[in-house]
């Protein structure tokens, strides 16, 4: 799966949790999930679970903690897919 494909899927998964639609429309890999998209921090747990389901990977809690930007999520998933 290409990095662009993963990015698109990550964005789809994050979408229902986004509170700032305008920023979401312009989002790129450096967009911060909590600060820029105003996602409720408690819901990061659900986003990670949805990544696991969508990409059929397992994300450890320590890995999850390293996700701040959309790009962090994409990189993490690419890494898991390659493993």
């Amino acid at each position: 799966m290409s990095r662009e494909d993963v990015f698109q899927k990550v964005m789809e998964i994050i979408k229902p949790f986004v509170k700032n639609e305008d920023v979401f429309q312009q989002a790129n890999e450096s967009t911060n999930i909590l600060q820029d998209l105003k996602v409720n921090s408690a819901r990061l747990v659900d986003i990670i679970l949805n990544f696991e389901d969508e990409f059929d990977v397992e994300v450890e809690d320590e890995d999850a903690d390293s996700v701040n930007t959309v790009g962090d999520a994409v990189s993490l998933i690419m890494e898991k897919l390659a493993a």
């Binding site: 229902p16 819901r43 990061l44 747990v45 659900d46 809690d61």
Partner: protein, 426 residues
């Protein structure tokens, strides 16, 4: 001086109608909302009928965001739809998420008898037992915590006064209304969203089935299964839904020109102490009568002014003793006995939501000048035969209907009673 408290908005999600129009029409028509529930049959319940509001998910998708919906089980969906409807019915706009204004004088008391067991049964327990705790996600606690629905409503409507949940078994819904009434009466709040909500889950109903208190004889005729006051009553029909009322202080309601359904004249909440025949599951008749008497006293009306009774009346053996308790507490002979009706005959017993679903019925009856039928009691129980003339078999048009009294009784020997009056000063 105490503030007077009026009802200016209502929302209802009931098995026989969602929204005030549908519900009001169903009540007038004596329409049952009881249906066959296949999951109860599948899991070998003795009772395989119940009350589940219809078409709720489609409404929920209109009302709530995808993120909200992920954290809303049936109890949440019913309660939040009813609360939002009560708010807008009262003429208030639903605030935007982006608007930082908080309504510091508006609160909520929204309780459940059980609540959230669909989430516990379908997700929490199976996931934990399978060692998959981390797969529960973030939405578990808010769906099973006792105050989950009131908390969700607070976020939807930016409530800033007391936001809490009460629980007193089958008197929960009416008790919530008394709690909100007192909060406004004492000047601590200016408007309160109050009532009960109860989700649809066979896990919620299983314990009652095991106690053999559910109706088992009418599984093939769901609409006839809930038979309060009847000689052939065979237990209550489990049900679900929500009724929420927006209570407001009279001055505010009048100054903004709100439509007023009725006034809460007074109420009482007590417990029979599990004495004199009272127990976890049966009421002490002294407690019941005292609760009714004190509610009437607080209302400042004469007993003879009561035009109609919306009873607890579940379709168990307790119906007859309830009728006798009313007669004793109100000191009326069978001939003078007011009209008495059971909303549960149409919607079943919605446990913690029952009381407020029935108070919504009371307000609709006051507003519309009618008393809805108590269906399925064409064979009035012989013990209460002399009261049969007071039980409407079809809708009674009562244009002069002015005062309704409502009681609810719950496991734990707890009682609640409230008196409502039609608003005539407009």
């Amino acid at each position: 001086m105490n503030s007077r408290v009026v009802v200016t908005g209502m929302g209802v999600v009931a098995p026989n109608g969602v929204g005030l129009n549908q519900y009001s029409q169903a009540l007038r028509a004596g329409k049952s909302g009881i249906r066959h529930i296949s999951v109860m049959e599948e899991y070998k319940f003795g009772c395989t009928v119940g009350g589940i509001p219809q078409g709720v998910d489609a409404i929920a998708e209109d009302y709530f965001t995808a993120e909200d919906l992920m954290a809303m089980n049936t109890s949440h969906r019913y309660g939040c739809i009813a609360a939002v409807d009560a708010w807008t019915d009262a003429g208030f706009e639903r605030p935007s998420r982006d608007d930082d204004e908080v309504f510091w004088d508006a609160g909520a008391v929204i309780g459940s008898g059980i609540g959230g067991l669909d989430t516990a049964g379908e997700r929490l327990i199976p996931f934990v037992d399978a060692g998959r705790v981390r797969r529960l996600g973030s939405t578990m606690v808010e769906q099973i915590m006792g105050s989950g629905v009131s908390a969700r409503v607070a976020g939807l409507l930016a409530l800033g006064n007391q936001v809490t949940a009460n629980s007193s078994a089958c008197s929960t819904g009416t008790e919530a209304i008394i709690e909100g009434y007192r909060q406004i009466q004492s000047g601590r709040a200016r408007r309160m969203l109050c009532g009960g909500t109860e989700g649809s889950s066979h896990y919620q109903w299983a314990g009652f089935d095991a106690m053999r208190v559910l109706s088992r004889k009418y599984n093939d005729e769901p609409e006839r299964a809930s038979r309060p006051l009847s000689a052939s009553a065979a237990g209550f029909v489990p049900s679900s839904g929500s009724g929420i009322l927006l209570l407001e202080n009279l001055e505010d309601a009048e100054s903004r020109g709100a439509r007023i359904y009725g006034e809460i004249l007074g109420g009482n909440v007590n417990c029979g102490g599990h004495r004199r025949g009272g127990s976890m599951t049966a009421p002490n008749p002294d407690g019941v009568q005292m609760c009714i008497k004190r509610a009437v006293e607080e209302s400042g009306i004469e007993k003879g002014e009561i035009d109609a009774i919306n009873g607890h009346l579940t379709a168990t053996g307790a119906d007859s003793s309830e009728v006798f308790s009313w007669a004793k507490a109100l000191e009326v002979s069978p001939e003078e006995f007011p009209l008495i009706t059971s909303t549960k005959s149409m919607i079943g017993h919605a446990l913690g939501a029952a009381g407020s679903l029935e108070v919504v019925a009371c307000m609709l009856m006051l507003d519309g000048g009618f008393v809805h039928p108590s269906i399925n009691c064409e064979d009035v129980h012989p013990n209460i035969e002399e009261f049969a003339g007071s039980i409407p078999q079809t809708v009674e048009e009562v244009p002069q209907l002015k005062t309704i009294i409502k009681a609810g009784f719950g496991f734990g020997d707890v009682n609640v009673c409230a008196v409502f009056r039609k608003w005539l000063n407009h």
